[in-house]
């Protein structure tokens, strides 16, 4: 059974050829990748990031944007590698939610 990323030969309708403006979120995730990936701290390889993206539920793979997928994969990898714990992340997220 191919993962949701292995799409060669399928049919997803017409191609949207319009370029879309990059959001601040997109830029921020790209910055994280530059700082953590090959050119920066090298916490993980791009192959690991891809593996995490490929493990997304098919519905999420298709509805999340390119950078939303990256960020989801980064969260998985950083937890896997013990950069922070799930509790630390949840506490920080809760703190952020209260502030916003």
């Amino acid at each position: 059974m191919p993962g949701p990323h292995d799409v060669g030969g399928k049919d997803f309708g017409p191609i949207d050829r319009q370029d879309h403006q990059r959001t601040a979120f997109d830029t921020h995730v790209d910055v994280l990748q530059q700082l953590m990936g090959g050119g920066g701290a090298r916490l993980y390889r791009v192959d690991e990031l891809r593996r995490c993206i490929e493990s997304l539920a098919p519905a999420d793979y298709h509805r999340f944007s390119y950078y939303q997928k990256w960020l989801t994969a980064m969260r998985t990898l950083l937890l896997e590698k013990g950069l922070f714990s799930r509790q630390e992340l949840d506490r920080r997220l809760e703190h952020m939610r209260r502030q916003s």
């Binding site: 059974m1 191919p2 292995d6 060669g8 030969g9 993980y44 390889r45 192959d47 690991e48 891809r50 593996r51 490929e54 590698k81």
Partner: protein, 92 residues
């Protein structure tokens, strides 16, 4: 296994779990090696934080579209090519 440019090869038909860079649409298909790119670390292992050694040889394999898709509509000589690691190929 000593694969060379010009060899006719078949992509293995397996469906192992994990991070695989051999696309599903080419599994079990036959094509021809048109380039040999050298040795690279195995992404299937790199994807899990391993070293990916020993390196695997990477080949560009070209397939006739009519051999890949039974209902292909296009030029009779149209092809699709992909970079495939040696452990995914066998002599056809």
């Amino acid at each position: 296994m000593n694969l060379s440019i010009g060899d006719r090869v078949r992509v293995r038909a397996g469906d192992p779990p994990g991070h695989i860079r051999t696309p599903y649409y080419l599994r079990g298909k036959e094509g021809v090696i048109v380039a040999r790119w050298g040795e690279f670390r195995n992404p299937e292992e790199l994807a899990y934080g391993k070293q990916g050694l020993p390196k695997r040889t990477l080949f560009l394999v070209r397939f006739r579209q009519c051999d890949v898709w039974p209902d292909f509509i296009g030029g009779a000589h149209d092809t699709v090519s992909a970079d495939i690691y040696d452990h995914w190929l066998e002599q056809a």
